[in-house]
């Protein structure tokens, strides 16, 4: 009988990137299991999860840069019944256009079924990522269950964002844990009285590789960005007038001669 070869724990085979202390959008090598705590009375949890998904897919694409355009892998979105009652189901017309046509929704009756669906999704090699939404702190979602999810995600290399609606941050093995709430939106370009691009106040309160911190984030048509400071934000509404450089100090004639 051949001796069993030594198999390192899948938790340790991750390439350890040089630790970047401060988290910022667009980092590659993000962990595979993240949790996002949000209120069920707003969709900011799902919104931030989708923004992080697009951010991760984009930075992974830049790493590979070959399959940037033709990513047709599906995204699995699992909700348990309570999460659907409290927060509703995803609306196809409101999804980001690059994810609109490749979403598979799983309506699980109980948290146990939702955890099963999450784990099966993580085992599937044809999925881009898995998003879960579970309301409250069900008994099924214990530390052991979250550890199972982490190990499965890291073993198969499929990322998981688990949105926890109205939940207390109890024990979990998620590698990054966010607390998110809605923030006043950016001023839209034409109608200042209307709600603008969604922005969130996100607090990273636990992460392995990064120091905790707080950010104001928004999704700029697929790119996750940090909000500019409020007073700059007022001025930074991009009018086409600003495309022309102001001629300060010197006349145009002097510029042409130079």
């Amino acid at each position: 009988m051949p001796s069993p070869s030594f198999k390192p724990s899948p938790a340790r085979v991750l390439p350890r990137s040089p630790a970047e202390q401060r988290w910022r959008p667009g980092l590659t090598g993000q962990p595979f299991h993240s949790e996002i705590f949000a209120s069920a009375a707003e969709a900011s949890g799902a919104g931030l999860a989708l923004a992080l998904v697009r951010d991760a897919l984009q930075s992974a694409d830049q790493g590979a840069d070959a399959a940037a355009a033709g990513d047709t892998r599906q995204v699995l979105w699992v909700q348990d019944r309570k999460a659907m009652q409290l927060g509703g189901r995803p609306c196809v017309a409101g999804l980001p256009p690059d994810l609109r046509h490749r979403l598979i929704h799983v309506a699980a009756a109980t948290p146990e079924d939702a955890l099963f669906a999450l784990e099966e999704g993580l085992k599937c090699r044809d999925l881009a990522c898995v998003i879960g939404e579970i309301a409250g702190n069900p008994r099924a979602l214990s530390f052991t269950a979250s550890r199972r999810l982490s190990l499965t995600a890291e073993r198969h290399g499929v990322r998981l964002w688990l949105v926890r609606l109205d939940a207390a941050p109890d024990l979990s093995s998620a590698r990054m844990r966010w607390q998110v709430r809605a923030a006043p939106s950016l001023l839209p370009r034409w109608n200042p009285a209307a709600p603008g691009t969604a922005s969130w106040h996100a607090e990273l309160f636990r992460a392995r590789a990064h120091a905790p911190g707080e950010w104001m984030l928004y999704d700029d048509t697929g790119t996750l960005r940090i909000c500019p400071e409020p007073e700059i934000e007022r001025a930074a509404a991009p009018y086409p007038v600003h495309l022309a450089r102001p001629t300060v100090g010197r006349s145009l004639a002097a510029r042409a001669r130079a």
Partner: protein, 466 residues
């Protein structure tokens, strides 16, 4: 005649909805069943069957007995049938429809003499051709045959035949050309027919010497059945989409289990795994003595190269396998794909379909419509404080919390489709709002004051923006 008119004439009329597709399927089954009299049968829709009994009549004791057997067998099934036997399909059709009962045309009979007094409709012609023939004064087959020339004078025959061919020279299809039909009836021209061929579904079964009462041997037999089924499917170049497992118990009860697969598969381990989840609640009773596995729905599936890289094989599952596992545990309705539907009403604009079905092509949504990320299953009523009844709310209460509205966009009026709701349905005015904490919602007012379709309009919250 309209059904209402017919009912007025005969009040106790029994009306049954027409089901042409079902009739055709029943006729196909009947055609297969009719192969008991001959090796080869064809459909003659809507209500006919053709069976080739060449060289088979002696098995039933002669042609007359064969026809009697046909009529008796149909009568036993509650169907009334008219049978006829002739050397050609056309002649048999004509005799069955317009001849006397159980007519038999022997090979050495003169067909024109036997069929000469049948109407021209016995030639299986279209209605407009029949009209033309009636106007020409040709009512019986014999007259047409006279025109086409069965007389003794070959010159006259050729001339008459030529006249008929010229009259219908533009009619290529046999059903529009009486000359062609007549030649088919007389056997001068071949008439190709499309036979019905039975295609049995792949089925494997195991009869067991000793009744099974425990789970471990049941799993073993299940694995054997799955391996047999894979072999049967591979021989046909197909993969199963639906599998039905039947377990016969000693006391005669049959336990059925059925799974549907998201994509055609021919993988024994996958089939075993899916059925293992469904066999947990089987009551064995005094034992199971027979197991049968049928693939009642299968699709073509080519042979594919197995993955040589072993690492790639055990690394994760394919999407179809993943969806199968989810469907078997959670039910088919639980795993869906949201697809847009052609409607403006938000709850109708989103449909859910099986995840691997092709998405129907539809117009892209308008870019200036900003729709919420999530829609509540039912719009929830909210209590609203407003400055004017047809304006935007300043404050609202939802789920027990009062929220101050700071930014608003709207209204966007969405009306239901006129063909789906009454004209008195109240229209919805949708507003995108943001409250003081930055939470963004999609709310609507059902109707407007003074539209004459109800009292003070209600407000609802339907969607949550990211």
């Amino acid at each position: 005649m309209l059904l209402a008119d017919a009912r007025a004439l005969c009040p106790d009329l029994a009306a049954v909805p027409a089901d042409p597709v079902g009739d055709l399927a029943a006729l196909e089954k009947l055609a297969l069943w009719a192969q008991r009299w001959g090796p080869w049968s064809a459909l003659d829709p809507p209500d006919g069957l053709l069976v080739d009994v060449t060289g088979a009549a002696h098995l039933f004791g002669g042609e007359a007995r064969l026809l009697a057997d046909v009529v008796a067998a149909f009568a036993q099934r509650g169907l009334m049938a008219r049978g006829a036997l002739a050397p050609t399909a056309g002649a048999a059709w004509a005799l069955a429809h317009y001849g006397r009962r159980a007519a038999i045309l022997a090979p050495d009979d003169n067909p024109l003499r036997a069929l000469g007094d049948l109407p021209v409709a016995a030639l299986r012609l279209d209605d407009d051709v029949l009209t033309v023939l009636r106007r020409l004064g040709i009512k019986q087959l014999g007259e047409l045959a006279g025109v086409s020339g069965a007389s003794d004078d070959p010159g006259q025959e050729a001339a008459a035949r030529d006249a008929l061919r010229r009259r219908f020279r533009n009619h290529r299809s046999p059903a529009a050309n009486p000359l062609l039909r007549l030649d088919q009836l007389l056997g001068r021209v071949p008439e190709p027919l499309l036979p019905v061929i039975a295609r049995p579904m792949p089925m494997v079964q195991r009869r067991l010497l000793e009744p099974l009462r425990h789970r471990a041997p049941l799993d073993q037999v299940m694995a054997d059945l799955a391996a047999d089924m894979v072999r049967a499917l591979e021989a046909r170049g197909e993969g199963a989409r639906r599998l039905e497992l039947a377990l016969w118990r000693v006391d005669g009860a049959v336990v059925q289990r059925r799974i549907e697969l998201a994509a055609a598969t021919r993988e024994a381990s996958h089939i075993i795994r899916l059925f293992a989840a469904r066999l947990d609640d089987v009551e064995a009773g005094f034992g199971i003595e027979m197991m049968q596995l049928r693939a009642s729905w299968s699709e073509p599936l080519g042979l594919s190269q197995t993955d040589l890289d072993a690492a790639a094989e055990d690394h994760g599952t394919a999407l179809a396998a993943c969806i199968d596992r989810l469907t078997v545990r959670l039910g088919a309705k639980a795993v869906t794909r949201p697809v847009p539907r052609a409607s403006h009403i938000p709850e109708r604009a989103a449909g859910w379909q099986p995840p691997l079905d092709p998405v129907p092509a539809l117009q892209e949504p308008f870019a200036f419509h900003t729709r919420p990320l999530k829609l509540l299953d039912r719009a929830e009523p909210i209590a609203v404080l407003y400055a004017s009844p047809d304006g935007v709310p300043q404050r609202f209460r939802w789920r027990g919390e009062v929220r101050e509205v700071t930014r608003v966009e709207g209204p966007e009026r969405i009306a239901p489709e006129w063909w789906r709701e009454k004209s008195t349905a109240r229209l919805r005015d949708y507003y995108r709002i943001e409250d003081a904490a930055g939470r963004r919602y999609w709310i609507y007012r059902q109707g407007i004051v003074g539209d004459g379709r109800g009292g003070i309009p209600d407000w609802f919250l339907q969607g949550l923006y990211a």
